[in-house]
Symmetry: C3
Subunit: 257 residues, 3 copies
């Protein structure tokens, strides 16, 4: 039983909704244990960011993966590691290794490298065939390149990925949440762009990378408590869950549960 | 005995002064233990920020409260949780639960909801009567609403709270320290506003929320080592204590102990 | 063996190059243990920032120093503590205490106090004679004072320190990386200033304080994977190592190993 339980309601979620994706950029085992005890129930996906898993011991990565899985959290390696394997022509080895380590999802992105739509379509299919959850990401990591996309371009890319079988599509925000995707160079939300995505897409299929509190609050107020959010720092998981439930000033009295 | 003790002096404090209030926004038990070992002696009050305690297990919250208390740190739940209880008409249950969990102070704020001065006065009295330390907070969490207050308005609000029996009054700064209270939208101190508060109030009765280093340094240089400061992140407690003692560049040679 | 090892190469380093200096601003023992397990191999120097070691128990500081040393990391106290000892005329006691605690390097700086070139020269020699590694730092902690230095002034100061026997010279960036040294008030790199330092100095002799990711990425792309970088937060060590190895979008495909 939670403290002050007479003041709160559980958050009722459909299986596809209310997802919180956490960005693990290299937590040690004590921190993982601590994090799970305090925030474990509020996380669904754990991304071992970009190529971080490739500079740590296999045994440590396996231990972290097992720990996440036994807490009902699905771990997956960052998209940049997939991109590196792809351009090195080692995609099959990458899938095999991810499976051996215990990862249950794969992120398919082209944040840094270029991949043709046909290739991307084929890869999504292969990832699904092998039995992984397929997460794709739309957006470029270099702001100059990302600025070439209009909101409608993003709608089209998301649509292609979903048609190819992606389980969810992540809207790129990086760790910083600035000057990319739906954020301007101050980190404020570009509201018209969000509206375009909302008009043409099923928001339940999207995971918005939203590392900053103002971004999380905006998206919760716009789409409700159960909007899917990602790139949340481990020490912000508690804060995010309170915002989803109207337990922080930013959303108090403004969300329904 | 501390390392390099021939270079330092203890910080001599009157009971009412030199208070450091730490913002715990969801630390796990390993982190709390670690934090107390390294920074425990430098913290007086631990706020379990906003509604965070309401999404954690009672047993975990009790354990954290006990741990703080046995290290001479007074824990209390964030003001937003009080506000939620107040608007839900569950203030008495809130006080009972806070007492059963072991909290020793209550924060009375109206950062998000509206409370009449008469109600606020009555609540402060009730909190004191039940035996809690009464901390009140002056300021609104939404910058647009907070901007309606002049410095003199804040003086008047603080004065009312003190007359009603508040032990300390907290000047709102939130977790970010921007565009609220005594801070402009860059996080710089609005010096004229601080001067007005200083001219009309007993600074010993105030706790300034000062999450950013430049804010802490400004207030230490203005009011001395033993200014009361709050909303300090757990991993900034050591840094703050070094600034209070002239052990960091910002205050070296500029503070008396 | 690391996870995904078929995608990565070890970083080959000459003894003088590729140094990562980590800023410990008061980690507790659990965090140190955790940090070493996940990031220990990627750190060479651990600075107990400014005067932080002087507010912690000798036994705790000794324990942390021993732990760092047994992981092949050289610990040293922050320059501000040296400066304080110097102006208090307690430099010899400072060296003795540093040695007794187990520190293996000393930072000689004048970020806050003034020291004549002759004095600085003499101190560097004394530090070396006693058997410490001598790290010096160039730059002032107060932006107004630091702005008096041209890039050529910095070249001259570095040159004097190296002639006096300094093992490495640190280019000041503080914890924030703004408005100081090679950074403008937004934290962007002043590229012309870096070019001047590069033209006149042996870059292998420098350690660039670079707390922000964009700064780390710039310096890696400019000088290669094995540029010496400092003031890296413990939880950014993994990220930095991935950038050095082209495992993050910022450097993928742009660094040679």
């Amino acid at each position: 039983m939670n403290a002050f339980d007479f003041l709160t309601k559980d958050r009722i979620r459909a299986p596809e909704e209310g997802i919180t994706m956490m960005l693990d950029k290299g937590m040690g085992p004590n921190m993982v244990e601590d994090f799970l005890e305090i925030s474990g129930p509020y996380v669904d996906l754990a991304k071992l960011g970009w190529g971080t898993s490739a500079i740590h011991e296999r045994e440590l990565i396996k231990y972290k993966i097992d720990t996440y899985l036994s807490n009902d959290i699905i771990p997956y390696p960052g998209g940049t590691l997939f991109e590196l394997a792809y351009i090195r022509d080692k995609f099959d080895e990458f899938l095999t290794e991810a499976d051996e380590l215990g990862f249950k999802a794969i992120e398919i992105s082209d944040g840094t490298v270029d991949i043709t739509p046909e290739e991307r379509n084929r890869i999504i299919g292969e990832v699904k065939d092998v039995g992984f959850m397929a997460l794709t990401e739309v957006g470029k990591k270099d702001p100059k390149k990302d600025h070439h996309f209009t909101a409608i371009d993003r709608v089209n890319l998301v649509t292609l990925d979903l048609e190819a079988g992606a389980d969810k599509v992540i809207i790129e925000g990086r760790e910083g949440g600035k000057d990319l995707g739906i954020y301007n160079n101050k980190g404020d939300v570009k509201e018209e762009d969000v509206q375009v995505l909302m008009d043409y897409l099923d928001v339940k299929k999207l995971i918005w990378e939203a590392p900053q509190k103002n971004q999380q609050a905006y998206l919760i107020l716009k789409f409700g408590s159960n909007v899917n959010l990602g790139n949340i720092s481990p020490d912000e998981i508690t804060s995010l869950e309170t915002m989803r439930r109207g337990l922080r000033g930013d959303t108090l009295g403004k969300v329904d549960l």
